[in-house]
Amino acid sequence: MPHVVRSAILNAPTDVVWNVLRDFNGYDRWHPAIATSTIERAQASDKVGCVRRVKLSDGSELREQLLALSDLEQTCSYCLLDTPIPLFNYVAHVRLLPVTDGDRTFWHWESRFTTRPEDARRLTEMVSEQIYKAGFDAVRAHLKLAA
């Protein structure tokens, strides 16, 4: 089962970064891979169990469900329900931890999924680089932070 782990340090306090990440319906405002985002059935984006329908910049669509959200721990988990790519049983976890030495943020983003063996390498690379790494850089840009 592929396991993707990426992490980064952002030059901002965790509250500032969390304010961006906690909006499950707001990734279209900063992530370059995401064109539009809506929550189904007009539910609140911090209602655990809500489903976001996301249109990617290439026009394809996917649906993801919020599995857990904690403002105390600054964590969230979500899974893919429908996807145009062969990424199955995908569950991802986002976690922020304070770097007390300098009031910065450690951002940990990981997931596991299943796929056909011949796709595992390509999809691991895609999730790692185009979703997670690109996401780190995009939030830095969104918050106008130095890398």
């Binding site: 992490s7 980064a8 340090i9 304070p98």
Partner: protein, 145 residues
């Protein structure tokens, strides 16, 4: 229960940082506040349950017991058996996590303990700002930032 949480980032891969801090008897090699250390009973310093008896540069003696050590998750957990600090039920963990974006290491050092209420602020400050951050500063110097 009082809680201490201190974290930092060191400019080196986590395996290099871990090699420096995993030795439960090796604090004098990297922490500037520790003068000398030995493991009681001639046991190996990575044997869970072993006890280190060490002396600080200020002369204080502390005995600590190794409760958990993981080379896989890169953490070390220990408790204080004896110290002049006036703490009870003291358990601390030093944990390393890779920062994949830049080959750095995220270090967290946490402790929980009971103490007299009027001493809590001072102890949290001394342990977190003094002992833990002092160790982090030494590691950052050793690894160039």
């Amino acid at each position: 229960m009082a809680r201490v949480y201190v974290s930092t980032v060191v400019n080196a891969r986590n395996d290099r940082v871990w090699a420096r801090v995993r030795d439960f008897n090796g604090m004098p090699n990297w922490h500037p506040a520790i003068a000398e250390s030995r493991i009681e009973g001639g046991e190996a310093p990575d044997k869970i349950g072993c006890v280190r008896d060490f002396r600080l540069r200020n002369g204080d003696r502390i005995r600590e017991k190794l409760l958990g050590l993981s080379d896989y998750d890169m953490f070390c957990t220990y408790s204080i058996l004896e110290s002049p600090m006036g703490v009870e039920n003291y358990v601390a963990t030093l944990r390393l996590t890779p920062v994949t974006d830049g080959d750095q290491t995220f270090l967290e050092w946490t402790a929980e303990f009971d103490c007299a209420p009027e001493r809590e602020t001072e102890l949290v400050s001394n342990i977190g700002g003094g002992v833990f951050q002092g160790g982090f500063d030494a590691l950052k110097r050793a690894f160039g930032g």
